[in-house]
């Protein structure tokens, strides 16, 4: 018993090394402070940085909850015109990288965009339109980009128990609204919080969108310290500060979740949805339609229009990067959820391993470029060591062993996206009741057979969610891909990078459209699973 406990914890610790080593590289740099640069940052950047980061976290946190939870509640337990369509379509923004969303929204709504141009042509003035390039603009755009994480997970919770909760509430004499707030919402809390923490970690790690809005967040300060003030130590210090912030967030999440166990309230025949009628039905429909238009139809429409203008000249060049992107995403989608499942099992068997899991999932909140350096430096060091000490075993003239191999790339993706995989798998794991395990054990099923016959079938849904989410995330990923890819290994994100470094957003629309389209299939699969359609 003790030995097996130890094995689980060791496995979790081993997996967490994937993230801990890059983080250690970052932290080690923070130990050699660049006093001059640091003093300047502390005086002229940090106060605003904290304020901006707080605005971003509170704003996007509030935004994704205000969008994600009501949408999930509406589509999971109610019926109204268009519900079946909205139920899956509201996940579509997941397929769009935040940096693409940001430039498309700016393209639509800023001074030179079609909306304001039309207004000026009609009324001669558009200065009354609120400026999208503002804190409120960034918060709105990031909320539109990241609400699907909350929507996805909350929907999952509501559709498995929401209607039942509503029924319980009604039998106790609660109004539907009171039933939502007093029964359904508390029961769905772990899922909502899991979605919220993913959205917040994405927000903290985002560089592309805040750069396009020129909004000074932590990532921009890290870049400034590194690229403009030429101080990687100061950049690493800022990154370490960011990691501390994430740790604090995760601690809060843990506390909010409490030590409660969440089982399913029995699996009865599916209840009929609550039918909305009259104004309520149309209001629900209008709300869903508004969010869907702003978060997907309008921005993607603009991307498609721009892409169509470039298609004639650039389409042929798209095939190879598309293939690379799909291959990488597929490989990562196989690897990451497997590791996530190992972590979830470890957490089940040995609560002491949960600390390691916390650490293993930190990579999601570290800005990709910093994480990429954290991955590359130790790999290069290992290579240099091997080349110095084991040269006889290697082909003559070798300059690399692991560096620039797909393996390193995939491991780097693991440290970045374990959080995504883990939150999906672990949410499913938490729904497996202790009583189910005990029942199985009383029938003499234990050890690996228990895992095989009880856990695996029940985890299949969570695993599928994890695979699809990781697939989509890897399609969108940019900095790690740039840093660790083998020679000539182009992906769609790399293509976008090359075009946008010269500000050619319109030409970048074609690979952007390809990313979104390639992400649509997994999103559809995901929504099919979730809506049971």
């Amino acid at each position: 018993m003790f030995a097996s406990l130890f094995r689980w914890r060791a496995a979790a610790a081993l997996i967490s090394l994937l993230t801990l080593i890059p983080l250690a590289v970052i932290a080690q740099g923070a130990l050699q402070p660049d006093v001059d640069v640091w003093r300047h940052l502390a005086e002229h950047a940090l106060p605003e940085l904290w304020r901006n980061t707080a605005i971003l976290l509170l704003g996007v946190g509030g935004g994704v909850l205000l969008l994600g939870v009501p949408l999930a509640w509406l589509t999971a337990v109610h019926d109204f015109p268009g519900r079946r369509l909205f139920a899956w379509a509201l996940m579509l923004p997941l397929a769009m990288p935040a940096y693409v969303m940001a430039f498309a929204q700016l393209g639509l709504f800023e001074f030179t965009g079609p909306l304001q141009t039309a207004l000026r042509e009609a009324f001669g003035d558009s200065s009354w339109v609120p400026d999208i390039r503002s804190a409120a603009g960034v918060v709105t755009v990031l909320s539109l980009a990241f609400y699907p994480y909350v929507y996805l997970l909350a929907r999952d919770a509501f559709s498995s128990m929401g209607r039942r909760a509503l029924e319980v509430g009604q039998s106790l004499g609660l109004s539907p609204l009171a039933g939502f707030f007093r029964v359904a919402l508390p029961m769905a809390r772990p899922w909502i919080i899991a979605g919220l923490s993913l959205a917040l970690m994405e927000t903290l790690a985002d560089f592309g969108a805040v750069a396009i809005f020129n909004y000074d967040a932590f990532t921009s300060a890290i870049y400034k310290a590194w690229f403009s003030l030429f101080s990687l130590p100061a950049a690493k210090q800022l990154a370490s500060l960011l990691v501390l912030l994430v740790l604090a967030l995760l601690w809060l999440e843990q506390r909010a979740r409490g030590a409660r166990g969440y089982g399913e309230a029995g699996r009865a025949a599916p209840l009929p949805r609550v039918k909305l009628s009259g104004a309520g039905a149309w209001l629900a429909c209008a709300f869903c339609a508004l969010v869907l238009s702003l978060a997907f139809i309008l921005p993607f429409g603009l991307v498609l229009v721009w892409a169509a203008e470039q298609a004639a000249s650039d389409l042929a060049d798209l095939l190879e990067p598309l293939r690379s992107s799909l291959l990488l995403a597929a490989l990562a989608a196989a690897l990451v959820p497997s590791l996530a499942m190992a972590l979830a099992f470890a957490g089940r068997r040995d609560p002491g391993s949960r600390l390691w899991t916390r650490l293993a999932t930190l990579g999601y909140a570290v800005p990709g470029t910093v994480l990429a350096v954290g991955v590359f430096v130790p790999v290069a060091a290992l290579d240099n060591w091997l080349l110095a000490h084991a040269a006889g075993w290697l082909p003559a003239g070798a300059t690399a062993v692991f560096k620039g191999s797909l393996l390193v790339m995939l491991l780097a993706y693991c440290s970045r996206f374990l959080a995504v995989g883990h939150s999906a798998v672990d949410a499913a794991m938490q729904r497996i009741g202790r009583s189910q395990e005990e029942a199985a054990q009383s029938l003499g099923v234990s050890g690996w057979r228990l895992a095989w016959r009880l856990h695996l079938p029940l985890l299949r849904g969570g695993m599928a969610t994890a695979m699809l989410m990781v697939f989509i995330d890897v399609m969108k990923e940019m900095p790690i891909t740039l840093m660790t890819r083998p020679f000539g290994w182009d992906t769609l994100a790399v293509r976008i990078f090359n075009l946008t470094t010269e500000g050619e957003w319109q030409r970048a629309a074609l690979p952007s459209a390809a990313i979104v389209l390639a992400g649509l299939l997994p999103v559809l699969l995901l929504s099919r699973r979730k809506t049971g359609a």
Binding site: T112, N214, L229, T369, A400, L406, L482, F487, L499, E502
Partner: protein, 330 residues
Amino acid sequence: MKQQLMFAAALSALAGMAQAEEVVVYSARAEQLVKPLIDTYKKETGVTVKLVSDKEGPLMERMRAEGANSPADLLLTVDAGNLWQAEKLGLLRAVKSPTLDANIPAHLRDPNHQWYGLSIRARTLFYNTQKVKPGQLSSYADLADPKWKGKLCLRTSKKVYNQSLVAMMLADMGPAKTEQVVKGWVGNLATAVFPDDTKMLEAIAAGQCEVGIANTYYYGRLMEKSPKLPLGIFWADQAGKGTHVNISGAGVARYAKNEKGAVKFLEWLSSEKAQNLFADVNMEFPVNPKVKPDAKVAAWGDFKHNYINVSNAGARQAEAVKLMDRMGYK
């Protein structure tokens, strides 16, 4: 197919061998701008040039981490500030090449022979032709005058082009005056600063503001696409030190495996033939004085360059960034 692909990639990476006639370039320039050159070079000489693109920061960090085992032969990037930084980090080596010295004027290359400019990029003033007469414009510093209040657009101070511009102003007129100018700019802004030059030029054309500072090739590209935009170009500081010019350039990597090949490629890039291509692809100006700029570029007229050595941009860049921070230029 996929398996083959993976296998091939894994194998080539595991071996990582430098072939005899191959030059590895770490490039922070957009691939579509470098590709035509590489293709031409291959056709002429049979030499394969392999490209690794990333942002300059990660690329340099990568070279550092790889140390003596770095496969990089050449580092290609924009802005003297970046090249200066690469030299400071010890990533480059000095090369003696009479060809390079002959083709590239002294103020556009490193005094220590570690890096060379390959194209000139001018950063100057642009204005809305319906609202501003060229006669109202003069210098970068003039844009700080209260007469431009609420009429100025700028790109973010995070972009190295503005950092280098301010660094050169520091070198030319000292910290006190530069501080005053930057502060004036910030006070004159019509709207929040822009993420890129193109967006900013579009805002000037749409009338959100009236004047701004941008690199000329963005203007060239934009006008090629929408020739009717009411946008004019104005060469700044012609009565003073001259228009601020920076470079894109390259240096041979300290641990280059194929130094000869890297130097040869670099020399070729400075040759008349490549210079035409190099500058034309992105509507920049050639560094080689024997080469005329592209007709579209020449049509903007001759102008006086600020001939201060571009390495100043690097040496004073951090100082410039801090100054802009203090003055609230985001």
